[in-house]
Symmetry: C2
Subunit: 275 residues, 2 copies
């Protein structure tokens, strides 16, 4: 283990993990802003979803995923799962004191605090993220007096995982969860996509929220935060790439990646890992 | 370990497991037909859903769940998860040769073979169950020339888990998966609810399929099969009861049980187990 972030070679990859494929929205955003970085992505699909599980269990899984990536050799770790960020970020940072560890919740809260006009912020997230109140706390630290409403939207995860990202079913589920939050004097002026799957549903959610509401995509916010954290320790040009690891059913994982993230190329190779 | 089914005391409970709360549809059906039996129900929610995972992983989880219940002392084991029944029933039966082991797939296939008028059988199930082709094989053994179409309906699981069991969202998701299968000359005449969650959506599915289609509820079919298997070894009168065990978040488990199965009583106690 390294004794300072600067001791870790700049050519090491950035480790990213999520409970499934959703965190690839973040990997894709990082590739757009830092195309020379190598990315090592772990999807813990054997134990997904994290969003409905207890903090104790999510923390155990998240620390195991982090350990796995650290053993492979990484120069920074992105916790690309909102639920794991919300409940396990401190435990991971304590376990690896010299590794830069970034969570999507902090990045999303940052984006929301800047984007919201009047501080009426709606966060669409998983049950676990909402119950943790991590967004409420992270936004309060950045913007006094903000009114944050966190809404658990578990079906969005299932819809995105199945590739059902737009159309009448998505519209009716979005209305079910969020229909009442963008009307009247207390209407939200900012919608945080507080789960890595939700950017896949962005067009439908933007339609529902209306043209006056700013959508905050945690993927873009996390990529910006990583650019700042890696300043001076960027990888040399020409070395970029994305390596995929799954804790179960690598063929299914590859199929889903191909379907949801065509920009990542056809039929990506996926390695199987046992955590 | 006992050396024959008859050596196991009749007062021992019946063990039931599923990946989540869905299998309680089966526990409820068993309670209706055998009210004197004690039931020991394990929901492996820490690792749910099983339906999207590989056969290897599901088998490992299912054998662990079975071992846990056998150690508590049970007189029969009901694999109340269609996915686990489809891929892991043989492995469990081999591991415990003297324990009566029943799976919902065999029971559902039995019900379908009897209920279908012309052998045009539609099975709504999880991805794992469909991929295993367990229903196709089990129905073929019972009814020659049957035409079985197995349709993966993963969103039904998420809808049921959330208590969204009827209404416009359920209707549109049901049309998405099954809309084309009950029209024309090849229209199904029988719909098997091939996942323990799906009986919760039965009214919406019956509406979609139409009045000429018979719905086969695996829960009822499994209860009937258990009555036959326990003949002569029934529990003495007056001893019934249901004990709930969850592998994660017992409060959430209790809330879902209360919401989905009000007949089981308010605020049931749930024990936490680490598998």
């Amino acid at each position: 283990m390294f004794t300072s972030p600067d001791a870790i070679p700049a050519t090491y990859p950035v480790g990213i993990f999520d409970s499934g494929v959703g965190g690839l929205t973040i990997a894709a955003a990082i590739r757009r802003s830092m195309p020379d970085e190598r990315l090592l992505y772990l999807g813990d699909v054997a134990r997904q979803p994290y969003g409905t599980k207890s903090p104790r269990t999510v923390t155990r899984y998240a620390v195991q995923a982090a350990e796995f990536l650290v053993e492979k050799g990484i120069k920074a770790l992105v916790v690309a799962c909102n639920t794991a960020s919300a409940v396990a970020l401190d435990a991971i940072a304590e376990r690896f004191p010299h590794l830069p560890v970034l969570g999507v919740v902090e990045a999303g809260a940052d984006g929301a605090a800047k984007a919201s006009a009047d501080g009426r912020i709606v966060v669409a997230a998983t049950e676990g993220t909402c119950r943790s109140q991590a967004y409420e706390r992270a936004i309060a630290r950045r913007r006094e007096g903000a009114r944050v409403r966190c809404v658990p939207c578990p079906l969005f995860v299932a819809l995105a995982e199945e590739g059902l990202t737009d159309g009448p079913i998505v519209d009716s589920v979005a209305r079910h969860y969020l229909g009442s939050l963008f009307d009247g004097s207390e209407a939200g002026d900012c919608l945080v996509l507080g789960c890595t799957h939700f950017p896949l549903l962005a067009p439908a959610l933007a339609r529902l929220a209306g043209p006056d509401v700013t959508l905050v995509d945690c993927a873009e916010a996390t990529a910006s935060m990583l650019v700042r954290r890696l300043a001076g320790r960027e990888a040399p040009p020409g070395g970029g790439g994305l390596q995929l690891i799954s804790t179960d059913a690598p063929e299914r994982f590859a199929r889903m990646v191909g379907k949801l993230f065509p920009a990542l190329g056809p039929a990506p190779e996926v390695e199987l890992a046992d955590l």
